[in-house]
Amino acid sequence: MVQLINTLFNGLSLSSIVLLTSLGLAITFGLMRVINMAHGEFVMIGAYTTYVVQNVFSGFLPESIQWIFYFAAIPIAFGITFLFGSILEKLVISRLYGREMDSLLATWGISLILQQAARSIFGTQGVNVTAPSFLQGGLKIGGCTFSYNRIFIIFLVLLCLIGMYFVIYRSGFGKKMRAVMQNRPMAQCMGIDSRKVDNITFAIGSGLAGIAGCSVALLGSIDSTIGQSYIVNSFMAVVLGGVGKLAGTVLGSGIIGFSSIFTENYTSSTIAKALVLLIVIIFLQKRPQGLFVIKSRSLDE
């Protein structure tokens, strides 16, 4: 029983991390059909931002209230990655609309540059963020321990989800965003500046990666490859969940997270990786139509 609860909690925790890193990806892919290979590097930027904020705060804040740095880091990380995303969209992505594969490759080039920049600035050695004191330790119920930082991440994801829900489905900007997503030419005819919508949407997606970066900073040391280690799972979650629906991404992340943890329990983490891949491929056998419905009257776009 204890073990089952632990497993479930770990699954939930991993799912929430996958979800946090794939939320932004799902949004940019859903709206703009852009697979952003530099998304992992935005996560990295978020993590390094947390590290920098921690160092700056430790300079002039008394020890007792240093935990504030973390709450400052989240909006700052969001802001910085938002800005990066906006610039990237302007410089690169906006030139590649309609060329999905090319945008994937071009963003890979960006990701190489960002990784090297991180190495040049912070060195190849990993750096660490000390979790705020109230996140250290864990909640003990019965024989189970729920570490606070993982609980915190789950709440952070919920917060992001609710935030995204309101932005997409309840705000004026969200309405424009969905309009562009569903019918770009029509939206343009209605006077929506689709370029601007694209830019902000991409920036929001990147900003979410920044927040994800803050949370993964709690889990281990930060180096230039941190983004890469999270990104593959996120891509799989997006593929599994289908395009353009928040619920799909949540489900996809859940499947990836829980199936990884469950198989890991019985076998090893490497076999778990292979199995998750297998699950995705089998899923695509059953429901490929969810992924590429031909809607227009022209055969190939």
Binding site: I294, S296, R297, S298, L299, D300
Partner: protein
């Protein structure tokens, strides 16, 4: 040999609760030019989609009677098998292979030899090349034979796609708005070409241009809101009051 080459039986299609087609039944006679008419959203294109297996019907069957083979049930077959069996289609939006030349487009469309081995080792025979030239001559594309298909003007792309259907030696050719983007003289010429080739095959057409319909139609089926409204020759159909009210009356022209 059966008189009908294609029998559409009780086809219904449902997209997320919306019935695009309801219980459509129609027979297409061999060596005829059969039109499907109807206002936008009547389900014409969907019907062609079902025949060529781009869309699966919720209910119903499509039966095909080839000249030299036994009856075939097209519903449930893979699209490339349907084409190999002799039922081909030109799509509404011209879809030729833009980075290949006109001739290469035609070679890919030749009947038979669709396997990997043949694609690598077999060269088109002299007769096949001749037939390509003949068809291209007919549609007036012979001088463009080495042009990249993507560089052709819109009307020429339409003709190329029609030519690609002809060279396949199909038994049933389905054309979705073949005259779209063509001027009157070009449309007329297309009609004459279709009349010529119907001695070897059956042609199913969707088109809005009434002059074109009058020029070549043998039989017309009018669809409205996913149901068959009427069937018959063009003059009877045009004279019918219901047809006029749902379709022709709205358009005003002709």
């Amino acid at each position: 040999m059966k008189e009908n080459v294609l029998e559409i039986k009780n086809i219904s299609v449902c997209f997320d609760g919306f019935y695009a087609l309801t219980d459509v039944t129609a027979n297409v006679k061999r060596n005829s030019i059969h039109f499907f008419l109807g206002p936008n959203g009547a389900g014409k294109t969907t019907l062609l989609d079902i025949i060529c297996a781009k869309t699966k019907p919720t209910k119903g069957n499509v039966l095909y009677y080839p000249k030299e083979d036994k009856e075939m049930r097209l519903t449930g077959m893979k699209e490339y098998k349907i084409v190999q069996a002799g039922v081909g289609r030109k799509f509404q939006v011209p879809s030729v292979f833009v980075n290949l030349t006109v001739e290469e487009n035609m070679i890919l469309s030749l009947k038979g030899h669709k396997g990997i081995f043949d694609s690598i080792f077999r060269k088109p025979t002299k007769e096949e090349i001749d037939s390509i030239h003949e068809v291209l001559e007919k549609v007036g594309l012979l001088e463009d034979i080495n042009t990249r298909a993507g560089a052709l003007a819109h009307g020429k792309k339409q003709w190329l796609e029609i030519a690609m259907q002809i060279v396949q030696k199909l038994e049933i050719i389905m054309l979705d708005e073949p005259a779209a983007g063509m001027g009157k003289p070009e449309t007329f010429r297309t009609g004459e070409i279709l009349k010529q080739i119907k001695k070897d095959c059956t042609i199913i057409v969707i088109e809005h241009d009434m002059d074109f319909v009058k020029q070549i139609a043998d039989k017309v089926t009018v669809l409205h809101e996913g149901k068959v409204l009427m069937e018959g020759d063009i003059n009877t159909v045009l004279a019918d009051k219901t047809v006029q009210s749902v379709y022709l009356g709205r358009g005003g022209e002709s």
